[in-house]
């Protein structure tokens, strides 16, 4: 019977299937971090349970760590306790951990792929909704809650209801200056933040195949912003090439490739829903509101809520404009920015840093703003430094930080002040996401860099 890619992976991981019950699915890799794991380990202790497969589990510190002075103890005692708790739990239960200061420390979704642990055909979970990132390798990867973290620790399985499948076909060629971030922002604006609920998304088409692995990760990363728990892309030569030579690449590489090459949706497989997007038409995208679906091409103006017919959407747009301090009709390119954030699991990889550095090289950022450059992992930071990118950023007047989630979420010391406005390469523009009262515009690394130079939302073409 013909199957979609997601169905193939699902079926290969069924440990037990019974009528009227969720499928019990085997989990190949479990990533953990400090914020969503302490209560799970506590649960194990209370019930006297062990971690079934520490050898399929790996931890890193990312959400709650500072990106300055990382050689000093963490200043905030509550954050310190959370990080210390993770370290103690990993020690007690025998889980490998990459702590602050370690060359492999970093955002959990950057660390997995760079170690070569993320591979096609796997099931991957993490107590973090952006686990969908790993889908770029043709893995079925999704975020879970803390009870599920505990469940996977104890059993290496999860009881799950089989999701529906949605194909998103992106055909054509991107114009210069348009990136994979713009593809995914356009998809979310099209299907809405609830459009993917209950589905696994499969991104397909010539525009997706043309993307690098890192650009594919950016697309899959934001599947959750479209409401989908997982999004994936069929593996190809680029995928195999990317994994080759990584520390955890399979020793019997040929056997692995032989299997990986079977991982695609069959030609006559039926998706529950299909969506089409024309890549030729895409422009750099930016969000104007407080959910990721409230986005427009950079050349547009702030929308007028009065023109929105759906009452619910109109109300949301009105509230968003008030929160964002924007007036309908203002050209998006006239919006002045206070802080540019380049980083996160969406756009904190080496290619993202390279593409921004290329624009900033030999130039100075606007004196009206600050720019934070935060590599997604310590490894990315080292790589960037070996290429001299740190100097480019510093010479341009930006700050060069250590690895972590940083300003992607208002939890660690890197936060927006009340009313402060950012152009951010991260993935969520919710109210207060980057700090209480902070105002977020989601953008690509290219738009972030161009904006840093001009002080207002800009695309590289404006330079």
């Amino acid at each position: 019977m013909s199957k979609t890619l997601a169905e193939k992976i699902w079926d290969e991981h069924i440990v037990r299937r019974a009528d009227g019950e969720p499928d019990l699915l085997y989990i190949d890799l479990h990533l953990i971090h400090e914020v969503t794991s302490p209560q799970a380990f506590d649960g194990l202790r209370l019930t006297n349970r062990a971690v079934r497969r520490p050898d399929l589990t790996i931890a890193t510190e990312d959400h709650n760590v500072p990106t300055l002075n990382i050689d000093k103890p963490i200043a905030d005692p509550v954050s310190k306790l959370q990080v210390d708790t993770l370290r103690a739990n990993c020690k007690e239960f025998g889980v490998r951990i990459h702590s602050l200061g370690d060359a492999e420390q970093g955002i959990v979704h950057v660390v997995g792929p760079q170690l070569g642990l993320t591979q096609p055909g796997m099931t991957i979970v993490c107590g973090d909704s952006h686990t969908s990132t790993h889908g770029a390798f043709g893995a079925l990867a999704f975020g879970i809650g803390t009870s599920e973290v505990e469940h996977v620790l104890a059993t290496q399985t999860l009881p799950l209801i089989r999701p529906k499948t949605m194909a998103i076909n992106v055909e054509g060629t991107l114009k210069p200056g348009v990136t994979s971030k713009d593809i995914i922002l356009a998809i979310i604006a099209k299907i809405g933040t609830g459009g993917g609920q209950g589905y696994v998304l499969e991104y397909r088409g010539s525009a997706i195949r043309a993307l690098s692995m890192e650009a594919r990760m950016t697309v899959c990363n934001m599947s959750i912003e479209a409401g989908a728990r997982a999004g994936l892309i069929a593996p190809d030569e680029k995928t195999f090439e990317y994994i080759k030579g990584k520390p955890h690449a399979p020793k019997d590489f040929d056997a692995a490739v032989a299997y990986w090459s079977t991982l695609f949706s069959d030609a006559d497989a039926k998706f529950d829903v299909e969506i089409n997007l024309d890549a030729n038409e895409l422009e750099p995208f930016v969000t104007w509101g407080t959910n990721p679906g409230q986005g427009l091409p950079l050349n547009a103006s702030v929308p007028n809520p009065a023109e929105i017919t759906d009452a619910e959407e109109r109300g949301a747009a009105e509230r968003a404009l008030t929160y964002m301090g924007l007036t309908a009709g203002t050209p998006l390119k006239k919006i002045a920015i206070d802080t540019v954030f380049l980083g996160s699991c969406t756009n904190g990889r080496i290619e993202d840093l390279r593409s921004a550095a290329e624009i900033l090289k030999g130039k100075k950022i606007s004196s009206s703003l600050r720019m934070l450059v935060v590599p997604g992992s310590a490894r990315v930071r080292l790589q960037a430094e070996s290429e001299g990118l740190d100097k480019v950023f510093l010479d341009a007047g930006a700050e060069w930080r250590s690895a972590g989630c940083s300003m992607c979420l208002g939890m660690n010391p890197d936060q927006l002040a009340v009313g402060e406005r950012s152009a951010s390469t991260s993935n969520r523009n919710f109210e207060g996401r980057q700090g209480k009262g902070g105002r977020t515009h989601l953008v690509s690394p290219l738009v972030a860099a161009a904006t840093a130079l001009r002080g207002t939302l800009s695309s590289p073409a404006d330079l």
């Binding site: 973090d128 809650g145 469940h151 019997d252 692995a256 969520r428 109210e431």
Partner: protein, 199 residues
Amino acid sequence: MEKFIKHTGTGVPLRRSNVDTDQIIPAVYLKRVTRSGFEDGLFAAWRNDPDFVLNQEAFKKGTVLVAGADFGTGSSREHAVWALQNYGFKAVISSRFADIFRGNSLKGGLLTIIVSQEEVEALWSAIESKPETAITVDLETRTVSYDSTVLNFVIDDYTRWRLMEGLDDIGLTLKQTESIDSFEKTRADYKPKTLPILK
């Protein structure tokens, strides 16, 4: 887990759609390593506003939250469920929930109930005009009832049974250890392990 069979309480009308998990509990409140005490972070940004529904005397004691569509979008933080439970909520009613939030809530014993948007609107009007309206959420009969209205909702048999018995998912899965053992024997050996690579 506590059994959930039937609950009667008053409602809290939250007339907002797309309430994401950063609104339910902002990240700064996620630093605790316990499962309790998250009520102080619940809707933190809105609680400063004296007009916010939970600051109104009439709704302070409510245990059934009635929210706009797409409740719980955003992050996978289960803290959002704990914050609602720690505050005292037993059930949330909406026309649409985000997948991960719904999964988390049903695992943790917070009943999330889907009814149509019109039914949500009617319920809002009923509680706003008479905050003391008793709302009964009955998992046995899969109904929500208030005044003379009875709404049916859908929940799969398995989840319903688990909630009504108060069963722990992990305990249930551990009964399948033999199936897990035999599945593991068939796994390909080129699949990666996280053991440190010795150079």
